[in-house]
């Protein structure tokens, strides 16, 4: 790696890299993000390397292991350029054929193509797949083009052009102005205007200032930041450096969850390569701008995603929040002015500087500009990472991109904004997804988690789940958060166990208001959201649990029972064999009966009963019928 001392040298190096690359040459890319790693991309990679050598195509085929493509449930994903042929769920056994048929003979392997679950149509390229077709991947797009460990790959996709522009063609004030005009809002949750925040830090008195990347992504099911950090660490570094130049910082910290080993590894490589090539350190590109960066691994506390807790943790103190004001912009890390932004926010910066504030602010809605990455998970056909312009409707995200709810089930709600977000019901599906609309709907953008729930999901139980999560993850420093969550969780647990009482809903609301109103940090202030939004939109479910001891979703174990309809049971024994609790009595040609005292309500019998018989039922809120007498159990 040559040491690059000026923008001219950087451009010359970029040209040299591009001159070595032929866009018409076949290139096999393999997604090597964490999700594809989990579905076996390592074995596929080994097979690829072996087969490329074995079939003697090493000279004519380029091969690249890239970051996360986002369509994670379909991994491992292999894309072959220049055609962009997309193969899904690729196994090591498929590789020989991919080389011999697709690379050598230009033949498409039909069985590895995407098949739309709703229409049965196949798609050959990523662009034709509905999941990708309706997205706009301004931030995530580079992930599938580059090897995150390769600085050359990043330079080949215009990497560090924004930094050069900022350092040599713009004053720090102009950079702040550009981010302000772009109207970028922080992607970490609160949605505060990033340019305004930068301005605070820039104008705060002090010679020493810091910039920090918040990669302590902790929402269950959310992995947007993880994928950006793993798949394109140079973009985050470039954004961070531009921010540092703008506010006058010469030192940065990247706070990454310990649970993201690949992000930590790829970042370490990116930092090392940037240092070796002179893109980090003293007098970067001869501009006189100095900047160094360190990676700090978080020790596994959700609360450290909150900025003041994160800074305390960086300083080696317990991860607990401080009161704001003073804000980190004036008194942050080690008492110095500090600008802290989320991974996705930083990754947007090179784009804004390269393409300009006007380009950026033309995308999105009045109050929310640009795109947002969501992690679409739960009861939805196409799960994965979705990047869309702000203002796309929730319905489009779930049904056009997500392909709707699997198994002919009915959509019930979507939880956005992580554990302290809210549930949005069917009636609000047409809202435009942006910071303000989601807040108005009683949910929030948060960092971009989106969990789809179908008719089988009990919303009281969902509220209980999130409160249990927050009860563990609250730091416990202030009373309303620690005790309020504890009491709300207790009440919700009782309701799901059939022990709810009249007045519980009102008590939950009272506790929620106190917790929201008087907690110190955002964790406590937003913790009641799951409770309030489910009461608001699904109050009837709460009332059914409390008044009728009935779970309308047939989900809360304490309130349901499995029974066998004696009229329909054919005595086949399928349920008997499946039951792990030996709760079913029966015998050949005898009507089977479930002993309720022994039943663990696992649902195995319901699954086992042949559809043609349909003898097993799940009931709630009604008494279990008296078991049919022994003497009448004989069939035929």
């Amino acid at each position: 790696m040559p040491r690059i001392k000026s923008p001219v040298e950087l451009e010359a190096f970029r040209k040299e890299i591009l001159s070595r690359r032929d866009a018409a040459q076949p290139c096999i890319t393999l997604c090597s993000g964490s999700a594809c790693h989990a579905t076996g991309s390592e074995k596929v990679a080994a097979a690829l390397e072996q087969e490329i050598a074995k079939q003697g195509v090493a000279a004519e085929v380029a091969y690249r292991r890239t970051g996360c493509h986002g369509f994670c449930e379909q991994g491992p994903i292999v894309v072959i350029y220049p055609q962009g042929i997309c193969y899904l769920k690729v196994q090591p056994e498929d590789i020989a054929e991919i080389i011999s048929a697709t690379i050598k003979e230009q033949q498409i392997i039909e069985r590895l193509l995407y098949v739309d679950v709703n229409t049965g149509e196949k798609a050959t390229t990523e662009e034709e797949i509905p999941f990708y077709k309706h997205q706009e991947r301004l931030v995530l797009g580079a992930n599938r083009k580059i090897d995150p460990k390769s600085l050359e790959d990043y330079l080949a996709v215009e990497g560090y052009q924004a930094l050069v522009k900022a350092l040599f063609a713009m004053t720090p004030e102009q950079v702040v102005g550009e981010v302000k005009n772009a109207k970028l809002r922080g992607r970490g949750g609160a949605g505060f205007p990033s340019g305004v925040k930068w301005d605070f830090a820039r104008n705060a008195p002090g010679d020493k200032k810091y910039v920090v990347v918040n990669c302590d992504e902790g929402d269950p099911g959310a992995y947007m930041d993880r994928s950006v950090m793993e798949g394109n660490p140079f973009a985050v570094l470039e954004g961070l450096m531009i921010g540092a130049y703008a506010i006058g910082a010469d030192e940065g910290y990247i706070y990454v969850r310990q649970e993201y080993p690949l992000a930590v590894a790829n970042l370490a490589i990116a930092i090392k390569k940037a240092e070796e090539s002179g893109l980090l350190g003293q007098n970067i590109l001869g501009s006189g701008f100095d900047f160094t960066v360190k990676v700090h691994r978080g020790a596994g506390a959700f609360i450290c995603g909150e900025e003041t807790s994160l800074l305390n943790s960086l300083e080696g103190k317990p991860g607990e929040p401080n009161a704001r004001p003073p804000f980190p912009a004036t008194r942050g890390l080690w008492g110095k002015p500090t600008n802290i932004n989320n991974v996705e926010t930083w990754a947007n910066i090179p784009l804004i500087i390269n393409k300009g504030a006007d380009f950026f602010s033309a995308i999105g809605t009045e109050g929310s500009k640009g795109t947002k990455i969501f992690s679409l998970v739960g009861k939805v056909n196409n799960t994965g990472l979705v990047e869309v312009p702000m203002g796309v409707s929730m319905r489009d995200i779930i049904f056009k991109i997500g392909g709707g709810v699997p198994g002919n089930k009915k959509f019930k709600a979507v939880q956005t904004g992580g554990p302290s977000g809210g549930c949005i019901p069917e009636s609000l599906l047409d809202i435009k997804v942006d910071f303000d609309e989601l807040t108005r709907a009683g949910a929030m953008m948060g960092s971009g988690g989106m969990i789809v729930m179908d008719e089988d999901t009990c919303l009281v139980d969902i509220a209980r789940y999130f409160l249990a999560f927050l009860s563990d993850e609250s730091c416990g420093k202030c009373t309303p958060c620690r005790e309020g969550i504890r009491q709300m969780k207790k009440i919700l647990t009782n309701i799901t166990k059939g022990l709810g009482q009249e007045g519980d809903i009102e008590l939950l609301q009272e506790l929620a208001e106190a917790t929201k109103g008087s907690s110190m940090c955002a964790l406590g202030k937003t913790a009641p959201n799951p409770v309030l939004s489910t009461i608001n939109h699904f109050r009837d479910e709460y009332e059914a649990h409390i008044r009728e001891r009935r779970c309308p979703s047939l989900s809360c174990k304490a309130l349901i029972a499995f029974i066998i309809d004696p009229q329909k049971c054919k005595g086949c024994g399928a349920c008997f064999r499946k039951c792990p609790a030996e709760a079913i009595t029966g015998g050949k040609k005898r009507i089977h009966v479930i002993e309720q005292e022994k039943c663990t309500k696992c649902g195995g019998c319901l699954e086992a009963c042949p559809a043609a018989f349909g003898a097993v039922h799940k009931i709630s809120g009604e008494p279990v019928p008296e078991a049919i007498p022994e003497e009448s159990r004989s069939i035929g």
Partner: protein
Amino acid sequence: MSQIHLQVDGKNVAAEEGMTILEAARSVGVSIPTLCDHEKLAPYGACRICTVEADANGRTNLVAACQHPVENDLVVRTRTEKVDKIRKVLLEQMMAHAPDSEQISELAKIYGADRDRFEKEASFCILCGLCVRYCAEVKQKNAISFFDRGAKREIAFIPEIAVRECWDCKECFPLCPTSALQAAYVLTEALMTPPTPSGTCGGCSSK
């Protein structure tokens, strides 16, 4: 230092920059209840009993008076329906842990808090952290600390330090708003298992 002018419960207050709302209120004789505040300790903001309403820049916020700095033109209300309701619920939550604390019972009378509203989980401790912070900030011994987080958070003495420092000090006991007995209990428990000389096991071999 420039003067800052604000209003607390309708009274005009001239405060110094850097003062908290609590200090400004006290300077004009307005009392705001506190449980985790102590003159010798840095504001901590744990009990939230001092929550007040404050209008600034056209917005009304609920803030902790012990931590929130004074600002020009701030309008503070220390007793509103919202504030009283919050204090009531907070006291009720605390009484699940420390039902017999005199200080909390007195406040409960003022705010109409029901001692038995929530099921008792008598830990006696409301985690105000006075003992922890006094030991760290004033005595600089760090003999007592918080452990764990969330609903599992608790205080405990660190035996290795406590066995050296605590018997002759015990200054934290009278600070406790619930009962000094709690601190004594935790301390005693800690001292029951003194540190062992390095390299030997204090367990089965000690008898």
